[in-house]
Amino acid sequence: MIDKDKVLHIAKLARLHLNEQEASQYAKQLSDVLGYIDKLNQADTQGVEPMVTASPIETVYRADEPKMDLGVEEKIKNAPETSGHLIKVPPVVS
């Protein structure tokens, strides 16, 4: 079961600001979903290798050559706030 404090802790890890009402709602909904997910415990997975991808796990090599260069203007044209060729953000420490 997940209570409101737990929800707020997870939200902090996920960098999501939640209000009180959202936190209560998610506590209930996530508890329901996790209650259902607990059925995974019934599956016997002793000695089973975890599967993280359906691809063959192999190292894909390529030559280390630059291919596409959009140029700085194109690269930062979507940035909300810029200063010259730099992206601006608020102070890291207030």
Binding site: L16, L30, T45, L70, V89, V92
Partner: protein, 483 residues
């Protein structure tokens, strides 16, 4: 040629031989698209250059230049695939102002083959949803009944293909997001084998499950589109180094083919209407010479739990990039960088996306990783083994896509768990990395479409087309259009 029922190859041949211009084709579909847009809300952004691009293609043909296998074909692309200089939102407020500086490989390959993007299809926000009700740009309605959902997350692509707003649409499928809306809308929808189609330039939801694929009215069109978009891409290291066969050359016979019926897919949850449409298809395939064998997927019962842990874990990591710094929405209410992250994400993401980020963050967090994420990865292996074992006995599987036909708008959106359970028959295909396809097979008594799902071994999409074509020819619903 009737553009309402013409196959893609017919349209392309007519354009190449000057019987009709690409501009005329585009005008026909744009007019239809605008009419249906008012009813369905299937499209987020129309391509303002579509007519100019069609005219350019006509000029190239007039000069005798070689054009590709999709010359002049208007295509509706899910708004999860980046299109250079054309807004790409992922159905989210957080990308409301995002104009990509490059195109996804899928779009690049479509355009190199002569296709022209007509518009960007609506979708559940970040492809998270099964009803197209979580989009920031409003829900999409099912063109067969505007009170019903079109399915999701590729609901806009499915509605556009169903209403013939374009002869081809592109969707993506992480847990059923191509096949389920295809089934709800009387459209052929293919989720290719994991690695068949490059994910480069597609907004990531769950990277080990995501695949883009074609949606269209006819099997032949989907096969042709896969030929164009499939194949190794050096920009996606998970794209497979596998030759792309000539899929559009569909084998006609199904005689001697062994088709498995996984008994867990035909349990109590299945509605009688979907069951009887599956049985009809089975009977017809039998009469065409296919052989049916019962098989088992014993771990099917765990598929939803496994899927929702793995998909949300990957999503929580993939969506960490939306921080208001380099692109997308930025909160104006932030005094520090930490505030900027937390407020931007609070304002920019919708409720379902937040819920999945939270679930994924929890599954990966210290103290819970082994019990949730790692456990799910182990069950994923067991599920894949079930399929590999079944494919030792049979060439492919036939099953329902969903338990019932499309549900009503608003019916399931308030209960997340109930919405998740909707994906019972589709998620395991993604977990195992297999190719799957929904083929239109009939209509419910209320007039809603119902599809049948085919699942093949890795990289054996040709078998889906082979069997799908028989269902298409015998069930005779592919030419039906909503009024």
């Amino acid at each position: 040629m009737n553009l309402e029922t013409a196959k893609i190859s017919e349209i392309v041949n007519s354009v190449q031989s000057n019987k009709i211009s690409a501009a005329e084709v585009m005008q026909f579909f744009l007019q239809r698209a605008r009419q249906w847009q008012d009813k369905t809300n299937a499209i987020i952004t129309f391509n303002p250059e579509a007519e100019a691009q069609a005219a350019k293609l006509d000029a190239a043909i007039a000069k005798g230049e070689q054009v590709g296998p999709l010359a002049g074909i208007p295509v509706v692309v899910k708004d999860l695939l980046c299109t250079k200089n054309l807004k790409t939102t992922a159905g989210s407020k957080i990308l409301d102002n995002f104009v990509p500086p490059y195109s996804s490989t899928v779009v690049e390959r479509l355009e190199n083959a002569g296709a022209i993007v007509l518009g960007k299809a609506n979708l559940d926000e970040f492809a998270m949803g099964s009803s197209n009700e979580t989009s920031y740009y409003g829900n999409v309605k099912n063109p067969w009944s505007l009170e019903h959902v079109p399915g999701g997350s590729s609901g806009g692509s499915a509605a556009a293909a169903a209403a013939r707003m374009a002869p081809l649409a592109i969707g993506t499928d992480t847990g059923g997001s191509i096949r389920q809306p295809a089934s709800f809308c009387n459209v052929v929808g293919l989720k290719p084998t994991y690695g068949r189609v490059s994910r480069y330039g597609i907004v990531a939801y769950a990277s080990s499950l995501d695949q883009a694929g074609p949606m269209a009215n006819y099997i032949e069109d989907v096969a042709l589109a896969l030929e164009v978009i499939g194949g190794k891409d050096p920009r996606d290291m998970t794209s497979a180094n596998q030759a792309v066969p000539q899929f559009s050359n569909i084998q006609k016979e199904v005689k001697g083919l062994k088709i498995g019926l996984p008994k867990e897919y035909f349990g109590e949850a299945l509605s009688s209407e979907v069951r009887s449409i599956c049985e009809e298809s089975i009977a017809k395939l039998k009469s065409a010479g296919a052989e049916f064998v019962d098989v088992e997927i014993p771990h099917l019962d765990y598929t939803i739990a496994t899927y929702y842990i793995i998909a949300t874990s990957e999503a929580s990591s993939n969506l960490a990039r939306y921080d208001g710094v380099r692109y997308g929405h930025r909160s104006e209410d932030a005094k520090t960088l930490e505030d900027l992250y937390c407020n931007t994400r609070a304002e920019g993401f919708g409720e379902e996306v937040k819920r999945r980020i939270m679930l994924g963050t929890y599954s990966l967090s210290s103290g819970y990783y082994d019990a949730y994420y790692l456990k799910a990865c182990k069950v994923r292996r067991l599920l894949q083994n079930d399929f590999l074992k079944a494919f030792e006995k049979v060439d492919l599987l036939l099953s329902p896509v969903t338990t019932s036909a499309a549900f009503k708008v608003g019916e399931r959106i308030s209960d997340p768990l109930e919405m998740y359970l909707n994906d019972i028959y589709t998620t395991s295909t993604n977990l195992a990395g297999l190719p799957g396809m929904s083929v239109p097979a009939g209509f419910s008594s209320a007039g809603l479409p119902i599809g049948v799902q085919l699942t093949a071994p890795h990289f054996a999409e040709d078998r889906l087309f082979q069997v799908g074509k028989v269902i298409q020819d015998m069930q005779n619903v592919a030419d039906r259009r909503p009024q």
